[in-house]
């Protein structure tokens, strides 16, 4: 289920452009250090892990990709579109092409896990109620949330909350998903299971994923196509 035509048509993506590009971006707000610039490309279908310690700059990657923050230097392009230049209304619509898991989970505390998953489908598409319900039921099943779907976030375990939040990020079947520290507090089995589910799009093809992490557990590593180590705002190691 994709965003409605009226919702998505306002900012056309550049055909053939990679899902996400960071070009000479200052991640740490150091205008005086032109040697500390970050560049990276997330190709279609790739799972890229940006690894770094606290203060390394990986915290800024998600907010820059979503257009919450403007890069002080360089550019961030999502599907060829410089997101920071979009006005607020168009940026909101454009974000429906991305899935996003903020640090923590960003679930709405007064909604059940099911209603949290349903939120983007209800508000960012123009489908009929039955279609919306069908898609939500499918997501609830895919991410193994059925037994706990009626719980509120505060009643659920950390793993279930993360599961619901990642299901929500995949709700509109985006071609790119950005996950901020998605595996903190999860077992390695749960982490690999979640990554496996989120990297497959609705039609079974591979989805581009950018995840940030302090480190990468061995169980997750096979699903990752590239690991970029970030130190002091710079990509120091880029391994396929």
């Amino acid at each position: 289920m994709r965003p409605s035509a009226t919702a998505g048509a306002q900012v056309p993506a550049v055909a053939g452009a990679p899902p996400l590009v960071y070009r000479d971006v200052d991640l740490l707000g150091r205008a005086d250090r032109p040697d500390r610039r970050f560049s990276m490309v997330v190709e279609a279908g790739a799972v890229v892990a940006a690894i770094g310690d606290e203060g390394s700059g990986i915290e800024a990657l998600g907010r820059l990709a979503l257009g919450f923050d403007r890069p002080a230097t360089g550019a961030v392009e999502v599907f060829g579109v410089p997101v920071a230049a979009l006005p607020y209304d168009r940026l909101l619509v454009f974000r429906r092409r991305l899935g996003y898991l903020p640090q923590g989970d960003g679930l709405l505390q007064n909604l059940t896990l099911r209603d949290n998953v349903a939120l983007p489908v209800r508000f960012a598409t123009d489908h009929r109620l039955q279609e919306v319900d069908r898609r939500v039921a499918q997501l609830v099943d895919d991410f193994r949330l059925r037994a706990i779907a009626t719980l509120r976030p505060a009643q659920a375990t950390e793993e279930d909350r993360r599961r619901a939040a990642i299901a929500r990020s995949a709700a509109l079947d985006p071609a790119l998903v950005v996950l901020e520290l998605p595996f903190v507090g999860l077992t390695s089995r749960a982490a690999s299971d979640l990554l496996e589910r989120v990297r497959r799009s609705e039609d079974g093809s591979a989805r581009a994923v950018l995840l940030t992490s302090r480190d990468l557990s061995p169980s997750v590593r096979p699903a990752v196509t590239r690991v970029v180590r970030v130190v002091d705002g710079v990509a120091v190691d880029d391994r396929k």
Binding site: R95, L119, V121, R122
Partner: protein, 260 residues
């Protein structure tokens, strides 16, 4: 002297900036309503009904009780004083002008501010602090559609409905007060109806619209303005409630100027 003038200027600029922010806030909320999706309309309706249940239905007892007490006190005292002067016919003017036109809407709005305004401001501030507003924006959902619009509509419907209820209970309670002083039902009705006009009905609805909007807009605005963290939530609630009360009194005065 210069610093005093500068301080006044700074304060004035701050107030103007808040007013500008509020105006933008209202425009964005109204504009957002045009972008509701089909399923979004259902969710908004559900949230709206919840708001009306909490803001109007659960406040019926309190509003009716206060309306009854206020009207009883005002009419009892007025009958005693007016009776001495032989001006009992002015009872209708006191009932309509003082209770129904002015005190009723004011008291109703104050009840809604104290019950629901505080809840709206605290909820919005919590949404902001917990990162829920950012999460909504990240999903491409306008927080004005999801959070502000249903609360604004809910407050308008609730305040207008409660004002009508207040008026109805006040009229009945006024009669009870008049009857205990020996006034017949037909006389009381004739006196009140002589002063009551269609303008009062429109005025009640108009005040419901403006006062209800004020409750939702001021409380949402100050709630969503929270930035630093949970310790700011009580301050946001206080700011929201105080500014709403001031706005309601100013609006009330403006209504008097416009109507007269």
């Amino acid at each position: 002297m210069t610093s005093a003038v500068a301080a006044i200027g700074r304060s004035g600029a701050r107030q103007l900036s808040v007013l500008g922010g509020l105006a933008r806030f209202v425009v964005r909320t109204v504009r957002a309503s045009a972008r509701l999706t089909r399923a979004g309309r259902w969710v908004t309706l559900r949230v709206l009904l919840n708001q009306i249940r909490f803001t109007a239905l659960q406040a019926i007892g309190l509003v009716a009780f206060l309306a009854a007490i206020l009207a009883f006190l005002v009419i009892s005292q007025s009958i005693r004083q007016l009776g001495r002067l032989g001006a009992l016919d002015s009872l209708g003017t006191i009932m309509v002008v003082a209770v129904i036109r002015e005190l009723g809407p004011l008291l109703t709005a104050l009840i809604v501010v104290s019950r629901s305004g505080t809840a709206i401001a605290a909820e919005m501030a919590t949404n902001r602090v917990m990162g829920e507003v950012t999460a909504l924006e990240a999903m491409g959902i306008d927080p004005y559609i999801y959070l502000v619009l249903p609360r604004m509509l809910g407050a308008i419907v609730s305040v207008a409905s409660l004002m009508v209820l207040f008026d109805a209970v006040a009229l009945v309670s006024g009669y009870v007060a008049a009857a205990t002083s020996g006034m017949a039902f037909t006389r009381y009705t004739a006196i009140v109806l002589k002063t009551l006009s269609a303008t009062d009905v429109w005025l009640t609805l108009a005040k419901g619209l403006f006062f209800g909007s004020a409750v939702a807009v001021f409380c949402s605005y100050h709630g969503l303005a929270v930035k630093a963290g949970p310790t700011e939530i009580p301050q946001a609630v206080t700011r929201g409630v105080v500014s709403t009360i001031v706005a309601i009194f100013i609006l009330s005065a403006l209504f008097v100027l416009v109507v007269t």
